[in-house]
């Protein structure tokens, strides 16, 4: 196992798209997915998706959770949480329960926080857009 992923929530990696690989079509997996290359089409997994820095995804994404360091052009639908690291670029609508955005990340699109979060004492938010320079919600 690649050291980078050992001990992390997505430790039991099943699908990896390497940096020099282009994948086209419906990419469906029951396990974790790591994307370091290019994917066009649709991505669906019941576990975690990691989009590494330098990776390009032109696809609608459905996953349990996602950590994004690369670029995604498409709508994202996450069951639990979405984390955008400083190098992340997301152009599309996002639906998730928890959203973590690091300074420097770009998020352009509607963001819908799941209503079921209220049951945990948190209120749902709808973010219209996100300023990449200040890191503030506009």
């Amino acid at each position: 196992m690649n050291d980078k992923y050992v001990g992390q929530p997505g430790g039991d990696v099943e699908t990896i798209v390497g940096p020099s690989v282009k994948v086209e079509g419906d990419f469906v997996s029951e396990g974790n997915i790591i994307i370091e290359g290019q994917v066009t089409g649709k991505i669906k997994t019941s576990k975690q998706l990691r989009v590494e820095e330098g990776a390009k995804v032109l696809a609608d994404v459905t996953a349990d959770s996602a950590i994004v360091s690369g670029e995604i052009r498409g709508n994202m639908r996450l069951a639990t949480n979405l984390e955008l690291t400083p190098t992340a670029k997301v152009y599309g609508d996002v639906s998730t329960k928890t959203l973590i955005v690091s300074a420097g990340a770009i998020l352009q699109g509607h963001t819908l926080m799941d209503e079921s979060e209220k049951s945990k004492g948190k209120s749902g938010k709808k973010i219209e857009s996100y300023d990449e320079n200040s890191g503030e919600v506009v």
């Binding site: 099943e14 086209e24 419906d26």
Partner: protein, 314 residues
């Protein structure tokens, strides 16, 4: 094979005890004959008491050619002795490098052979199964010698005469194997050392690997040549893993340390895959080499019956 009715004498046997004995025999696949059981419970052997005489006539032992070396003489004698003790001894055929095991097994199946035991090492195991995996018989393996016996570990089979206990216990697991281009099989891995290709996976998505030369492997029972850490053994789930990475560059790029960063491995699992090479490329499937432009790999889920040990790795 004729089955004769079971006759029990009330003066000698507790019917309940015998019923349980018979049930346990049926559960264990009927390997141990009733004769053996009768000996255990202190009765004389009675041929009319046979439930299912799988023992002598239904076992075929295929000895690999390297076992003709005198250093294996004693080991083979011990193995044969143990097999006789377990009453599972059968016909022995010594293979030569020119023997086609498929034709041979098909011929023996017509004479009632239902279990084929491969006596040899990893090479023997792969060579026979890659040609005869679809014949519908149960396969067993007696690993002989210390060298090239990795499968023994995977299948939980001890080496030399100790393996006879596993064969006698007859714990059968059904494993996946793959069909290549609807004609050949592999159960370990298929390897393409270097090719520009397009991969079509489960008719759902394609990976375009035509911009560079790639090293490709499809693995089932053994890790591919260039990746062992990420490999997970799951030979019964109806999926196989494909691994690929850019092929190694020339000597110059190796000396300059270029390319290592870009040689990251990609992997995903599939049920059916199509490898479309730009030009015919060398394909090695379980040691058998050929040049192919198009390779279709389909998984046959749990179609291979194999005798395994308790300490198997899956």
């Amino acid at each position: 094979m004729t089955k004769t009715p079971v006759k029990l004498s009330k003066t000698h046997l507790d019917p309940e005890k015998v019923r349980k004995e018979l049930q346990s025999l049926v559960r264990s696949g009927g390997v141990k004959t009733i004769t053996t059981k009768r000996r255990k419970i202190g009765l004389e052997t009675a041929p009319t008491y046979s439930l299912e005489r799988k023992g002598v006539s239904s076992y075929l032992y295929l000895y690999d050619s390297y076992l003709q070396d005198p250093e294996y003489k004693n080991i083979l004698a011990n193995i044969e002795k143990r097999l006789r003790d377990f009453e599972i001894f059968g016909k022995i055929i010594k293979l030569s490098s020119f023997t086609n095991p498929r034709v041979l097994i098909e011929d023996e199946m017509r004479h009632g052979i239902k279990t084929v035991i491969i006596v040899g090492n990893d090479d023997s195991f792969i060579r026979i199964l890659s040609r005869a995996a679809d014949l519908g018989v149960t396969f067993g393996f007696i690993p002989v010698g210390q060298k090239k016996n990795h499968f023994a570990e995977v299948l939980g089979i001890p080496i030399n005469e100790k393996s006879c206990e596993v064969i006698a216990a007859r714990k059968i697991e059904k494993l996946d194997y793959a069909t290549i281009n609807n004609k050949n099989f592999f159960i370990c891995y298929l390897y393409v050392p270097s090719a520009k290709l397009k991969v079509e996976c489960d008719e759902k998505f394609t990976a375009d690997l035509r911009h560079d030369r790639f090293e490709v492997a499809v693995a089932n029972l053994l890790p591919p040549p260039f990746e062992s850490q990420r490999f997970q053994l799951h030979p019964q789930d109806g999926h196989m893993d494909i691994y690929f990475r850019p092929a190694a560059g020339g000597l110059l790029s190796g000396l300059l340390g270029k390319g290592n960063k870009k040689r990251k491995i990609s992997t995903f699992f599939f049920k059916k895959i199509l490898l479309k090479m730009e030009k015919p490329a060398l394909v090695i499937a379980d040691g058998r080499e050929s040049k192919e432009a198009l390779v279709t790999i389909e998984i046959n889920k749990k179609k291979l019956s194999l005798i395994v040990g308790k300490s198997r790795q899956f």
